[in-house]
Symmetry: C2
Subunit: 218 residues, 2 copies
């Protein structure tokens, strides 16, 4: 397999962690979203949505794309160890917690949105930081509200095993830490993130350890 | 079942269409996102993420939330007629097309984002329209790029049967039409949307036909 990735991309972080948990490996190709590599014709042929991750399977064919769709694929084809619980109601809870990050938060801080705000609408650094902190905190409030309320919350988002929800949560917390968001109001989120970061599958995929990250050779 | 919904919410539209296709009915309760009903304590107890849809099952327990998670739940518990193909690779394609709308587009036009832009950052109507059109077109370009390229595209996004991808695409096209986005550059998207709108399961859930929509009694 070949994974198109980028050090700063939280969406590719999710797929890299999922691959690690499943015991799978993929060749990596970096698409520098800050340099605009995603708009090159070669990459648009891989993913017309001009985004990473994209995962080319060994049998060829169009690349898989979108982090949640890729994680669901990995779960269906490589079910052990599972990234979803077994009963439908629990699976819905895990998927919904994941979607708080994927559908309700992450997009508001991606390069193309920051670029339109700063170049198209002339946001200065202070305004951009205010925008990003606002949405980080909104998503944290949503996650903490669910996790602190529900008895299904355990060592991880759902019981004692890592699920897709933890992968998405961990990436969101890394982004928050990079933005210096105060995490004290979100003790359940913070506790679960620390549980994740203590695991090798997560630790070695930390954004700031990836090739091309500040201080890390590309 | 009881579905918390709102006439203008594209995310609840998805769930209503999915329920229709599955032949299921749910009592409806309107949460007026423009009036801030989602921040009332009663509703925050239902969904701490302060968003619709939320679906309360007949056996009680915490409400399901997030449209994709609810559709996946309905698919697992009521598999006929299916909203996903049967093979993992096709399922990944359908989920990824759906996520273009759900994760890469929809959020940028929801009430809470529009509110921060207009109240927090003083966007005027022209700026807000420019913002919304930009992201509508970005998502349309991504969808059209995939759908026009892939041989799996048929009468619908994936072959001859409606899937989750079509439900998400149809809602995105309704939003684009309400914003008067020019759809001519997206012929495949437009064609598939028309196929969807011709079906009763979609037609009766059109946003502008819902209780509370302009000209429709609440």
């Amino acid at each position: 397999m070949k994974l198109y990735t980028f050090w700063r991309s939280n969406a590719t972080y999710r797929v890299r962690v999922a691959l690690n948990i499943k015991g799978l490996t993929a060749e990596k190709a970096s698409i520098d979203l800050l340099m605009g590599d995603q708009f090159e014709a070669d990459f648009q042929a891989v993913n017309p949505a001009r985004a990473v991750p994209a995962l080319v399977l060994d049998d060829g064919g169009p690349a898989l794309f979108e982090s949640m769709a890729i994680m669901e694929y990995l779960e269906e084809v490589h079910p052990r160890p599972p990234l979803l619980p077994s009963d439908p109601r629990s699976r819905a809870r895990v998927r919904a917690l994941a979607q708080i990050v994927v559908a309700d938060a992450h997009l508001l801080g991606v390069p193309r949105v920051r670029k339109l705000l700063t170049e198209g609408f002339k946001f200065d650094e202070t305004q951009l930081a205010r925008w990003q902190h606002h949405w980080q905190n909104e998503a944290m409030t949503s996650l903490e509200g669910h996790l602190a309320r529900d008895r299904e919350t355990g060592r991880f988002c759902h019981g004692e095993a890592v699920t897709m929800a933890d992968i998405c949560l961990a990436g969101h917390v890394i982004a928050a830490q990079m933005l210096k968001v105060d995490l004290k109001p979100y003790p359940t989120v913070s506790r679960i993130a620390e549980e994740c970061f203590a695991q090798d599958a997560f630790a070695r995929e930390h954004l700031l350890k990836q090739p091309g990250a500040p201080g890390v050779p590309a």
